[in-house]
């Protein structure tokens, strides 16, 4: 009897053109778009299984601790598991999370989740991501989401933060610019959330909007300057070079490593060529950017730090990076004129020297060569001298590195394998 009633009701619904609430539409197109938007957003880098597994749903099970200046934040499970994931969420709720940083239960998210960028995404796009996430196998993985220390663990404080630093608004294209430029702007300022790393933060973790893309210290690295500055930014990089770097993880100038290696492996390396070009076109002509860093003259070659640094360089570094700092294309990064080496902060250079680093892997550049650690055979003075040297040799110019910098980096690296 009950079944017959139901059938009658469904028949009625069909008759008057409404669908039952729970029937999923054939959302093939949305799912396809969502899968690619997840690549643009580099979601996997934060939400993947902390054991490194990232195939299928494992890329979204959460639990990876993300370093912030305020402590570790553990990422949530965004598979459609009903209890520990987003299985009970609606598309409206997902949009609100992306657009405003507020979860269905009203809890405010921290901007480690870059809703400050995702807010620029269209409703269509967040719906597509939601549709894609809902195709994943639901994985039960309860994550302790409250790992920040006091007072940062008080989520209500984000109310004030948002009032200061955040305005929810979707992206608006600039009609005076090309479609390509606007596409780049959308990716960079929206899902790609490049500024989350490459724009310096104020004391409270908000973007210093006057310093867009000036770069800054981050998680024990120095996110590079992406402005048009010739020495520290992308001023000397052509659009083609930016595209090659984002696609393959390397070009004749540089190799992606550290957090950027993950960005290339999980995100930019999987983007379409037109999108990479759009990003490069936008980065070469951003609407506003930080003022150029102060002009610098290299530290004199006669300086003791430079002489010691040069001796160490000849002994330890030159076999790969060559005497003139030219490196080997696609293998050992060029240091002469290198953007990475000349950043205001020495974090990346010091870290790479002390701890070693492995270049990104992409199917286009599978070698993934590594620089070994030198921390065990250089003391703080030597590490400071050799990094000061590479920052000031061959026409490079950047602030000297001190033994105290090296000591601090060593301490920072102690519990980071």
């Amino acid at each position: 009897m009950r079944a017959r009633l139901l059938a009658a009701a469904t028949g009625l619904a069909a008759l008057i053109g409404i669908t039952p609430l729970n029937a999923a539409p054939d959302n093939f197109a949305a799912v396809e778009r969502g899968r690619y938007l997840v690549v643009l957003g580099d979601c996997v880098a934060c939400h993947m299984n902390p054991n490194g597994e990232k195939r299928g749903a494992q890329g979204f099970v959460g639990g990876r601790p993300i370093e912030t200046p305020f402590g570790l934040i553990t990422t949530p499970n965004i598979t459609p598991d009903r209890e520990t994931g987003i299985g009970t969420w609606s598309a409206d709720e997902f949009y609100r999370t992306m657009h405003e940083g507020i979860r269905p239960n009203g809890a405010r998210l921290y901007p480690a989740f870059p809703y400050t960028y995702f807010t620029r995404m269209s409703r269509d796009d967040t719906d597509a991501i939601f549709a894609y996430l809902n195709t994943l196998e639901p994985v039960r993985n309860a994550v302790d989401r409250n790992t920040l220390p006091f007072p940062f663990n008080i989520r209500a404080s984000m109310l004030a933060w948002n009032a200061l630093f955040f305005r929810p608004e979707e992206f608006r294209a600039d009609p005076n610019r090309s479609a390509e430029w606007n596409r780049g702007a959308y990716i960079v300022e929206g899902p790609g959330h490049c500024g989350a790393c490459h724009t310096p933060k104020n004391m409270l973790g908000g973007d210093r909007s006057g310093d867009r893309f000036a770069g800054g210290p981050l998680q024990g690295w120095f996110a590079t300057n992406l402005t048009g500055d010739q020495r520290t930014g992308l001023g000397n990089w052509s659009v083609e070079e930016i595209v090659e770097y984002l696609r393959t993880g390397r070009n004749a100038r540089s190799a992606a490593s550290g957090p950027m290696a993950e960005v290339v492996e999980y995100s930019t390396g999987l983007m379409t060529d037109p999108d990479l070009r759009a990003i490069a076109v936008y980065l070469k002509e951003p609407p506003a950017q930080a003022p150029a860093p102060p002009a610098r003259t290299p530290i004199a070659a006669e300086d003791d730090r430079m002489k010691i640094g040069e001796a160490l360089y000849v002994d330890r570094c030159m076999a790969c990076h060559t005497r003139t700092g030219q490196g080997v294309p696609n293998m050992f990064p060029r240091l002469a004129g290198s953007q990475v080496v000349q950043q205001e902060g020495s974090e990346t250079v010091l870290r790479v020297v002390l701890q070693g680093v492995r270049a990104a892997y992409t199917p286009h550049a599978p070698t993934s060569p590594a620089m070994p650690a030198f921390g065990w055979r250089l003391n703080d003075e030597q590490a400071a001298a050799v990094t000061t040297y590479v920052r000031n040799a061959w026409g490079n110019a950047a602030p000297a590195v001190t033994p105290a910098d090296a000591r601090r980096m060593r301490e920072l690296l102690r519990d980071r394998p």
Binding site: C320, M331, Y361, A365, P369
Partner: protein, 588 residues
């Protein structure tokens, strides 16, 4: 013993041949597992530039080689002797771990001469039966150089070999080896920069009428990106190749050419510290059904597979076949059976030259930095009346002057004390060497079998080697060494010490790791273990790769031929065998 899910193919050993075969099979869509009994090894994690050139650790204490407590062999010169186990490697150094001997080689990458492949019929036709030594078992390979040429080419382009072509499609080119078989195109990278010793050698040999050419090298003369997209960096001439892993990505190895791609392949899996102890057979004995291996915890596992690829080192391939009852073991008394037959080695010699007025700076070297002459190799010269078969290449290479082992003091110098120190100081920079890499023929009484007495940690009999240098090899080595002395004289040495190869074979001093044979290829199942595709004659789903297939050894380093044969077998499997699996590719 626990049984694991079936794989399409199981590969025993992840060195050069295992990596090449793994990649080709995965590209063909197969699910492949490689079982490697040694540890994982990679440039980034294991060959740190600050620790890789550690002569004590690697050169003297053999860090990259299989521990004799895990596996060794027993050795004897003659069948009437009792063989004893080698407890510290000496004469040869079997590799271990991912990359195998491809990690610690010098990088000489040769093609064998066309006449090396049909040596028996070639010598028979040119000189008659009388040329062959007593008790020999020299055989043709069952494959021609022309068949193998495309696969030499593939291996050389995989590995980015540096060299100067001497024969491109039949056109003899100046500066290369005029005796080499034709090649379809030049080497992928130009030769290395020569050292002072090579320049002297080149001048001297040219004056004497030789045609010297650069030794083909797996040490890169320049950066090179191979067809798999993997990049190698230029060699820094540090001189730590043989016995060492390369820290600069400058020496071709599985790590620097194949593994970066293979390890990411979704169809591929490698399990390290997993020692295969036997191949399993179907009840009728005609098919292999998989392998049994022991992991580091001592657990036994069964890995079923449709295809079994033996890609271990030559000695261990043979041992595994003998344990598993694949093929009929060779019996030297009846000359029947095939597994263990035709073990061969290499008859090398050297001429040291001590100079007054030359500085060689041998510290700056590379594993295959050398100039070579091929006039007295193979059958490049008339053997009429010489009473031997075979020959040797003559080379002058500067491959290291490492401080512990390179003490080139003249004979008569005290072994220690102030006179020894003075002689070291006087000769370290002023000594150089001309060497020969000599062929080794096969004989009825040079073979491999299972030792009746000594067992390994798992209770399995050790492999027994019965081998000695024969009069044929001694005559060949004496003849070629005689040709080397005038070269050294023309180079200007004030004192010359020549050491031709003489028996008996001694397992203590290092000679060469070019062990060959034991599972030889051929055109007849009665006299060979595998067909030309390295497919076991009577167990068609088993392929045995590597120098175990050489029916005798030529006057060259084996790796180029090993790599070419691996590609040849891989093509045969992916293009023929898989269309009709379980069938022999050559009808017996």
């Amino acid at each position: 013993m626990r049984r694991l899910p079936r794989k399409d193919a199981v590969i025993v050993g992840l060195g050069w041949t295992g990596a090449i075969m793994g990649h080709e099979l995965c590209q063909a869509g197969l699910q492949v597992v490689a079982l490697e009994r040694g540890p994982w090894r990679d440039t980034a994690s294991d060959f740190n530039i600050g620790t890789a050139p550690d002569e004590l650790r690697y050169g003297i204490r053999h860090d990259l080689f299989v521990r004799t407590a895990q596996d060794t062999v027993t050795a004897r010169n003659r069948m009437d002797q009792e063989a004893l186990p080698i407890r510290r490697w000496g004469s040869f150094l079997p590799g271990n771990g991912v990359g195998g001997a491809g990690v610690h080689w010098n990088g000489h990458t040769w093609r064998f001469l066309p006449s090396d492949f049909n040596i028996r019929s070639h010598y028979l036709e040119r000189y008659g039966e009388g040329i062959f030594p007593e008790n020999h078992s020299i055989q043709d390979w069952g494959i021609t150089y022309d068949e193998l040429e495309p696969y030499y080419d593939r291996f050389e382009y995989l590995a980015g070999i540096s060299g100067e072509a001497g024969n491109v499609k039949g056109q003899i080119l100046p500066g290369g080896n005029p005796f080499e078989g034709w090649r379809s195109r030049p080497y992928p990278t130009p030769p290395l920069k020569m050292q002072h010793a090579q320049n002297l050698f080149q001048r001297a040999t040219t004056e004497l009428g030789f045609k010297p050419f650069p030794l083909p090298s797996a040490n890169m003369s320049q950066a090179y990106t191979n067809p798999l997209g993997v990049t190698l960096a230029p060699c820094t001439y540090c001189g730590f190749c043989e016995r060492f892993g390369c820290a600069n990505y400058s020496k071709s190895s599985p790590q620097t050419t194949v593994l970066p791609v293979l390890m990411r392949h979704p169809g591929f899996e490698a399990r390290t510290e997993c020692e295969v102890v036997r191949v399993l057979k179907s009840p009728d004995g005609r098919t292999a059904t998989g392998v049994v291996y022991v992991d580091a915890q001592g657990e036994e596992w069964e890995q079923p597979a449709d295809l079994v690829i033996l890609a271990a080192y030559q000695l261990w391939n043979v041992r595994l076949m003998l344990y598993s009852g694949i093929g009929r073991p060779y019996d030297p008394n009846t000359n029947e059976g095939v597994i263990g037959k035709n073990y061969a080695y290499q008859a090398n010699s050297s001429v040291n030259g001590y100079f007054d007025n030359q500085l060689f700076n041998s510290w700056a070297g590379a594993g295959s930095l050398g100039m070579t002459c091929d006039e007295y190799n193979g059958d490049n010269f008339d053997h009429t009346g010489l009473n031997f078969v075979g020959g040797a290449n003559i080379n002058c290479s500067t491959f290291h002057a490492r401080p512990i082992s390179a003490r080139p003091v003249p004979p008569g110098t005290p072994r220690w004390g102030s006179a020894w120190k003075k002689a070291t100081r006087d000769n370290y920079l002023t000594t150089t060497n001309v060497g020969s890499q000599g062929s080794n023929m096969s004989y009825r009484d040079c073979y491999l079998d299972l030792d009746p007495t000594y067992k390994d940690r798992l209770g399995r009999p050790l492999l027994r080697m019965t081998f000695d240098f024969k009069a044929n090899e001694e005559r060949m080595s004496a003849y070629v060494t005689d040709k080397m002395v005038p070269i050294m004289r023309a180079m200007g040495a004030k004192q010359i010490v020549a050491t031709p190869k003489r028996g008996p074979w001694n397992v203590v001093p290092y000679q060469t790791t070019h062990n060959t044979g034991g599972a030889i290829m051929g055109d007849n199942p009665r006299t060979s273990a595998v067909n030309k595709f390295q497919q076991v004659w009577d167990m068609p789903n088993v392929f045995v790769l590597g120098a175990s297939a050489f029916p005798q050894n030529a006057g060259y380093n084996p790796t180029g031929t090993v790599g070419a044969l691996a590609y040849y077998a891989a093509d045969a499997i992916t293009q023929q065998y898989l269309k009709n699996p379980g069938q022999p590719l050559v009808q017996a």
